[in-house]
Amino acid sequence: MIHASHLIRSASLLGKGTADVLVRDGVIAAVGQDLGGAAIDGATVIDAAGLVALPGMVDLHTHLREPGREDAETVETGTRAAALGGFTAVHAMANSSPVADTAGVVEQVWQLGRESGWVDVHPVGAVTVGLAGEQLAELGAMADSRARVRVFSDDGICVSDPVMMRRALEYVKAFDGVIAQHAQEPRLTAGAQMNEGKVSAVLGLAGWPAVAEESIIARDVLLAQHVGSRLHVCHVSTAGSVEIIRWAKGRGICVTAEVTPHHLLLTEELVRSWDPVYKVNPPLRADEDVHALRAALADGTIDIVGTDHAPHPSEAKECEWAAAAMGMTGLETALSVVQETMIESGLMTWADFARVTSAAPAAIGRLGDQGRPLEPGEPANIVLVDPAARWNVDPAAMATKGRNSPFAGMELPGRVVATFFRGHPTVLDGRLNTPYLHGAR
């Protein structure tokens, strides 16, 4: 079998020094100045002058909808979107139909990911059977399956019972798992439609108060401390949550936290349009929350960016606000939104970007072959970004089936030029190339 190799010329590694990168046999074969001679014999040369080379992005929070809601997204369409967005691995949330609460379902999703070949698909296992919060799912069976599940979450629904949460946190220690909590106190958010505050008061929409998120995070970090477990907090959305996580980390509690691109850029003021494309859970918050989240991502209080990519069919959004589904697409805009909010603002460097979008999420998910440094011998999961490009977000032009992008019509910086997944270019010239063929190499 002939192994295609690629020579990436003059890329700026993590936005720092310029170097050539030789990709061969799925790994980074060499990194250096002016690589040439026999080493690059037969390699396809990619001129990466002006481009930033980053480790392939890893999303800890993606809804691929399959099985069950193939009208909204499939593993194939969702992972195409991921590759175009610069990702080489995504974690598929468990709220499919049937729920990913057994070894059979997680292996099905994992297998669909392998067959698609655009990125690694790591299924997230449900914490409780049917996401019902009443009985632990077979976490061990999912961990031992071919999908090797390490992240467990009832995302979309909070594990609100404190005893259930305690048991889950304890149990997954047996296989180094982590509970990713959707922090939402259910009684405080019954019927909630948007952030509770200045705007909800005027619009007459039922409020989703910050305290409903913060009280669960406070409880969970104390539980994690008590039983010595790993806790991951999904989509942190309030300034108060940031303070609690900062406090917990200061106490040495093993907690990691995530923020979505949309919570880094958008505020509740958009709800005044009544357009349900801005309806999401947790809801868009106030300006002061957005700035606290950016500062927390920059100083490491929040560890990672997770997209919470949540595609919906158009009829789920072309309706009254209260009747609309919650969620936004995010895979194809994440890089640009994070560049806009964190790099253009001067809060972070591209090296920081690589930490929060690749190395840290891979570490939380215990992925050994993702989020690695761009060094010889490492798996060739690489994304090339043109940081000077600007583009207008057009949901109709996206690979995801979801047209529910809250960034539609916005001009954003940064374009993914190429994505290398296991050494294979899934994206070239900003367009899908071909998938990686598992088992063929």
Binding site: E196, W274, A322
Partner: protein, 340 residues
């Protein structure tokens, strides 16, 4: 201005234009032939996703007095109850060439969605959406107050506003689209509004509203008031612990006979008592207060038709802002052709 969706975005000129036009319209209701030809050949659809006989018949009377064709479309007994979307319903009405859609909906923002989504070209009038807005109710309340205020101050009501008027809005503000619409409209017209409610029935964020807030009805009455607007309270709210019991609510926040007598003791002889209806007698308002000479409840109902005629006429006759205040020649002539 093509639609009437809320009062927050309703400017003073347009608000006064509606009130002044309503005053012209009210004269029509006094005639033997209560009809004008203004909207002949136009179609008004009453699209009601929520039961409200009072509001629907008020809009129906308003449209018919302007000679419009009226179609009543209620969610019950229509395809809506079989799961048709708002979008499809709207496009169906569009295909039937509706000129105006009067919409009542359980979901906050549904009228705005209808007006801005591109599904429909008709003028949209919000007849109450969720807990968001009820602009024609606020306009009829303001109309009622303006008539009273003009009489007291000895000024003509046409062209006038509510400058200096002290208004209390009492009760379940949290769930009230009437309160939300009144706060902004009355403020726009120069009134000083105080909300009085149990803290549980005020929205978080109310501190940003252009009004005062109090938990103490008696203290706000003592401070002097020109109009007291009581809001309907659902007794079931006590089940969600918004207040301990209906009796405790009535004692602390109800306009009872003792408070009615207190207005006399305070020499507030011109203070009116308002209610948007339907009333819970004995809960938020006593029968003594509801039936007293201070009560404007029936005036409000009567004025509702005039205000809705004004809103329909102004929206369907073109840019509301361009409408000059009272001069409406069409109303000078009786509708002889329509009613032989």
């Amino acid at each position: 201005m093509r639609h009437l969706l809320d009062t927050e975005s309703l400017g003073r000129d347009n608000a006064i234009a509606i009130l002044d036009t309503a005053q012209e319209m009210s004269a029509v209701g006094e005639r033997e032939v209560k009809k004008l030809p203004a909207l002949r050949g136009r179609t008004v659809v009453n699209l009601f996703f929520e039961d409200s006989t009072r509001t629907r018949i008020s809009f129906e009377a308003a449209a018919k007095r302007l000679s419009a064709d009226v179609i009543n479309f209620s969610a019950k007994g229509s395809s809506v109850s079989k799961g048709e979307s708002l979008k499809d319903t709207a496009q169906t009405l569009e295909a039937m060439s509706a000129d105006a859609v009067v919409i009542r909906h359980w979901a906050s923002g549904a009228p705005a969605r209808l007006a801005t989504s591109g599904w429909i070209d008709a003028a949209v009038i919000n007849a109450g959406d969720g807990t968001h807005a009820h602009p024609t109710q606020a306009l009829l309340d303001a109309f009622t107050m303006r008539t009273h205020w003009a009489r007291l101050t000895g000024t003509p009501s046409v062209g006038g506003d509510l400058a200096g008027m002290r208004v209390l809005i009492v009760g379940d503000v949290l769930h009230s689209r009437v309160a939300r619409s009144n706060v902004w409209l009355l403020r726009t017209l120069g009134a000083r509004v105080t909300l009085v409610a149990p803290p549980t029935l005020l929205p978080v964020g109310v501190e940003h509203w252009p009004c005062e807030v109090s938990y103490d009805l008696d203290a706000t009455l003592e401070a002097g008031v020109d109009a007291v607007m009581m809001l309907r309270v659902q007794a079931e709210r006590m089940k969600a612990s918004f207040f301990p019991s209906a009796r405790e609510y009535a004692r602390r926040w109800g306009f009872d006979d003792a408070r009615l007598a207190r207005l006399d003791a305070l020499a507030l002889k011109d203070t009116i008592v308002m209610h948007p209806g339907p009333m819970n007698r004995g809960l938020e308002i006593s029968s003594g207060a509801a039936d007293s000479p201070r009560s404007t409840v029936l005036d409000q109902v009567r004025n509702g038709v005039s205000v809705r005629m004004a809103a329909l006429y102004l929206l369907l006759s073109g840019d509301m802002k361009a409408v000059p205040t009272p001069a409406l020649p069409a109303f000078a002539q009786p509708a002889a052709k329509d009613h032989p």
